[in-house]
């Protein structure tokens, strides 16, 4: 059995950031990776996907974007290249093609079974990502047989879909991006919309992520957020990594010809039934967007930036067609594909330690797993701050987690 002080599972942005923090503290460790560095970005992301955050915001410990397009958005392939060169730059001890089968608690630490070998470590950091599995609702089982069901993890581009109409379920960043891309391929899209987050790509001449960072919103700590469960489960904002359009919201999709409906409730006898709550769902998203824009404007005023920024303005409310259908028959041949853009969840099925809550989520306090001393998790939404959801959040999160881990190791030695 191989002995090491710490094991990091996953060589994505979070695992690599953690590796760098452990190296800074001279903590002996290995990074176990089931595939290659940035494996999810290589194998589970559609090629046209770009980061929602601008390049200048892609920061990791000891790394800042130095390319020629700081205001651009990295496509998936560039994320792979960036993380690969970061892994080399920090000299991360990554063992590729090493899938972890089980992690168990043993006296003085953890036993990690990875393919054909067994490791023992005093601390384990789970950095396997938040988007390993599609979170598909139970109603998906009722899709009638001739209709193809697909999730974003296996979606590549519209060409893989049969001709015909597509029902996209879910209006997060994934849902609105894929609805637009598929609709442009001459496959008419119906988009089923539940609770969503509407934000403009740019406001008063600056990228929305500039505003989210400047106003301090992204820095809000997990232990200061009123409703943390809700914050951790919020859908991603309706944004696309492009400077070509100010909005990729429901109004822009309506203008494109996409048919918008309420949340998918159930499918009965092949007929999809949608919620009649769409007007309120849209009203809530508009109110929430305007609350943030008010906050942004107030911040700009108190920061004395009103002279250098364009004047404040507001966006048109979300239009809801009074003829929005409540039903869609999936058996007529009009719809040939249902795409479940209903979110993702992490896969911690190999973690053989009882640290999960009723809903199957790991219980943790800012990354330190509850009831599992020496066990840590990184790279989950709002792990320590609202920034944790994005790549650059790992820069500060890994610092805090490494500090906690370091203390844990020292206390164990006494």
């Amino acid at each position: 059995m191989m002995q090491t002080t710490a094991v990091v599972i996953g060589a994505g942005h979070a695992g690599l950031a953690m590796s760098r923090r452990l190296t800074e503290r001279s903590i002996d460790h290995v990074v176990l990776e089931r595939g290659e560095v940035a494996n999810s970005w290589r194998t589970q992301r559609w090629p046209s996907l770009r980061l929602l955050t601008p390049n200048w915001q892609t920061r990791l410990p000891g790394y800042r974007y130095a390319g020629g397009d700081p205001d651009g958005f990295m496509p998936a392939a560039e994320v792979v290249a960036t993380l690969s060169s970061y892994a080399r730059y920090i000299g991360a001890p990554v063992r590729t093609a090493t899938a972890v089968r089980t992690v168990r608690a043993v006296p003085q630490g953890f036993e990690i079974q990875a393919d054909d070998h067994v490791l023992h470590a005093r601390a384990v950091v789970l950095a396997t990502g938040a988007c390993n599995l599609p979170a598909t609702p139970r109603v998906a089982d009722a899709v009638p047989a001739p209709v193809t069901s697909l999730t974003p993890l296996t979606y590549r581009d519209p060409c893989q879909l049969p001709d015909g109409g597509v029902l996209v379920v879910g209006a997060s960043a994934t849902g609105v991006q894929l609805a637009a891309e598929i609709h442009r391929s001459e496959r008419p899209v119906t988009l089923a919309v539940g609770e969503h987050v509407r934000l403009p790509r740019t406001y008063r001449g600056r990228d929305i992520f500039w505003w989210l960072e400047a106003t301090g919103l992204l820095a809000e700590r997990y232990d200061q957020i009123d409703d943390l469960t809700r914050a951790r489960h919020l859908p991603s904002p309706q944004l696309t990594g492009t400077r070509e359009a100010t909005m990729t919201d429901l109004n822009s999709l309506t203008a494109l010809g996409v048919r918008i409906t309420g949340r998918l409730g159930r499918i009965a006898d092949g007929v999809a039934q949608f919620s009649g709550s769409l007007p309120n769902t849209c009203a809530l998203a508009d109110l929430k967007m305007n609350r943030f824009l008010n906050r942004a404007d107030q911040w700009a005023t108190t920061s004395g930036l009103d002279d250098e920024l364009p004047a404040p303005h507001r966006f048109a409310p979300t239009y809801v067609d009074p003829r929005t259908p409540l039903e869609l028959n999936l058996t007529t041949g009009e719809i040939t594909t249902v795409l479940w853009a209903t979110g993702f969840r992490p896969d911690h099925s190999w973690l053989d330690i009882p640290v999960f809550d009723r809903a199957g989520h790991i219980r943790h306090d800012g990354g330190a797993v509850t009831g599992g001393p020496g066990l840590y998790v990184l790279g989950l939404p709002v792990l320590r701050t609202r920034a944790s959801t994005y790549i650059h959040g790992a820069a500060t999160d890994s610092q805090a987690v490494a500090s906690h881990l370091h203390t844990h190791l020292s206390s164990g030695r006494r």
Partner: protein, 186 residues
């Protein structure tokens, strides 16, 4: 002179609600409620429903008293009009649920209400229930609710109040989303 903020009081015990939310999150089995009503036919289209007990917090619960509701159809349907129609009870349920939500959310957000009035309308063509036109549904074609709210708050805050009350309303959810209904013969 001392200036004190007069505390907002809409008659809603928000602390109790927040406490319940915390307690029930920790003990989700106690959060399972079953609501009940029983209905007895009188004559014609007239029936009387009673509501008294329900299950929740892991035990059998009782209302302070038994409530009775007469249900009938109006005289223009050749009935005796001994009570509101069933569809009107649906409107009553929806308006009551949203109004309770407005008061609770206002209390939580520190907004003093002076008056809240909701006018609710449900539109339908009765060709559906008469079986006269297969393309017309039995139920409401649409429901419209208009809230007139006098409160110490901006229009935007009042709109947010009404939006949030819809988001947290049981009856709004029941009316806008499909629900499994099983009808058996004893």
């Amino acid at each position: 002179m001392t200036i004190t903020d007069s505390p907002v009081d809409n008659g809603v015990n928000v602390q109790a609600l927040l406490g319940a939310r915390e307690a029930l999150s920790a003990a989700p089995e106690a959060a399972e409620f079953t609501w009940r009503a029983s209905c007895t036919w009188r004559t014609g289209t007239h029936s009387r429903s009673t509501v008294s007990g329900f299950t929740g917090l892991g035990a059998e619960q009782e209302h302070r008293t038994t409530y009775e509701f007469d249900v009938d159809h109006p005289e223009c349907f050749a009935s005796e009009d001994n009570g509101a129609t069933p569809v009107e009870y649906v409107l009553v349920g929806l308006a009551g649920c949203l109004t309770a939500g407005v008061a609770s959310v206002a209390q939580l957000r520190g907004i003093q209400l002076r008056s809240v009035t909701a006018t609710i309308e449900g539109q339908m063509s009765v060709l559906g229930i008469l079986g006269a036109d297969p393309d017309v549904r039995n139920g409401f074609e649409g429901v419209t609710i208009r809230f007139a709210i006098d409160a110490d708050a901006s229009r935007e805050d009042v709109e947010a109040l009404v939006a949030q009350s819809q988001k947290r309303s049981a009856v709004y959810d029941i009316v806008t989303n499909p629900t499994k209904v099983l009808v058996e013969v004893a």
